[in-house]
Amino acid sequence: MTTIGRHGHKVVASVADALAPLENGMTILVGGFGLSGNPEALIRGVIERGVRDLTVVSNNAGNLGKGLALWLRAGIVRKVICSYIGTNEDLHTRMASGEVTVEITPQGTLAERMRAAGAGIPAFYTPTGVGTVVENGKDTKEFDGRRYLLERALRGDVALVRAHTADRFGNLRFWRTARNFNPVMAAAARLTIVECDHLVDTGALDPDDVHLSGIHVHRIVHVPEHENAFEYRTVRKRP
């Protein structure tokens, strides 16, 4: 009997092909910090795919009407797990109306919840949030005279990831601070879909220069053009 492994042919022809396995009600992990390192084409594609009642895990869930704010505007999100809302009015209004449930988690705890999920660790003790509202309802324990609280790993059905360069096996390199949550999201989902600016042949990346192994990647779509929106464009004058 022949079986087909998950790491055979990963490169798909279109965003629509990449997103075909999505279903209503899924938990979707999305890389990005603010609007940097967002899988922009996959985010748009999910709306066209027509799924809804999604639980979204992402640091910000969009801003300025861009990024994941598109999902909020499309009404396809039931719950958001994030660390920061800030000026994301699309989330503020839907949180206030009750349309979207929001769970706010400290940023480092959010990252570690996915890291733990990807590493097979179901829960971990952290000092972050001890003595604050984050501690409410959580077990605590003292180690070496300091109190820690127990946080659960967070696994997704699907991860949507943006990479600068991918080879055909899904080995990834990221660009500057666009890396952010992308690697931990990739490792924490059953199905990880990567949108890459550059697609190169297997062997083109030196093995020592790979940021994330293709073991965490299942589908790859090459998207050469991105908006890469600015949130705060701060510059100085040339001398």
Binding site: L35, S36, Y84, G86, V102, T132, V133, R179, V235
Partner: protein, 213 residues
């Protein structure tokens, strides 16, 4: 302030004063807003600046035309990387913070208590902006300095006996830099480290919700 009329420190003065607390060769995370300005008063190469979204070695803002939307600080401002800087993912970045590898965080604050409790992420009854990296930074960095105006626009105390705002972390602040001076939480009050020119101890005490010593 309606009362006359000591020379309060400007935000620039506060940032300059905060920069003096940064030891050469240290790793520092500057919070969003006022603390970010502290970088303007650090000599080149004096300290390494950490950004929790995944960078050690923040440089100055880019020259007009060189800005990259995928090279930003935690406040989502476009930045540059100094030579020798390094990028990493969010989990690694917060492992550095939580693991005690960042020497100092300078953070904005809404309230600081005499015990060194920090409240800087939510106003009771106000719009929930979120936590971001504040709790990780406050509880994970080896030292925490808070920067804020000494009182609110409504003249309410912000250096207080006990925080009435939701805490970011308990007993973490070692120094508070305000427009009135520099103050160290001492358990039952605040120790006056330095007063801005012309600010009297009586005035500072009137503006503080716990005993000054």
């Amino acid at each position: 302030m309606t009362t006359p009329t000591p020379t309060l420190w400007s935000t620039e003065d506060m940032a300059r004063r905060a920069a003096r607390e940064i030891a050469a060769g240290s790793i520092v995370n500057l919070g969003i807003g006022l603390p970010t300005q502290v970088a303007d008063y650090l000599p080149e190469g004096h300290a390494s600046l950490h950004s929790e979204n995944g960078l050690l070695g923040i440089g100055p803002f880019p020259y007009d035309g060189d800005e990259d939307p995928n090279l930003i600080n935690a406040g989502k401002q476009t930045i540059t990387v100094v030579p020798g800087g390094a990028t990493f993912d969010s989990a690694s970045s917060f492992a550095m913070i939580r693991g005690g590898h960042v020497d100092l965080a300078i953070l904005g604050a809404m309230q600081v208590s005499a015990a060194g409790d920090l409240a800087n992420w939510a106003v009771p009854g106000g719009k929930v902006m979120g936590i971001g990296g504040a709790m990780d930074l406050a509880s994970g960095c080896r030292h925490v300095i808070a920067m804020m105006q000494h009182v609110t626009k409504k003249h309410e105390h912000k250096l207080v006996a006990t925080c009435s705002y939701p805490l970011t972390a308990a007993r973490v602040v070692s120094l508070v830099i305000t427009d009135l001076g520099v103050f160290a939480p001492s358990g039952d009050g605040f120790r006056v480290v330095e007063l801005a020119p012309g600010v009297t101890r009586d005035h500072a005490q009137a503006c503080t919700g716990a005993p000054l010593a």
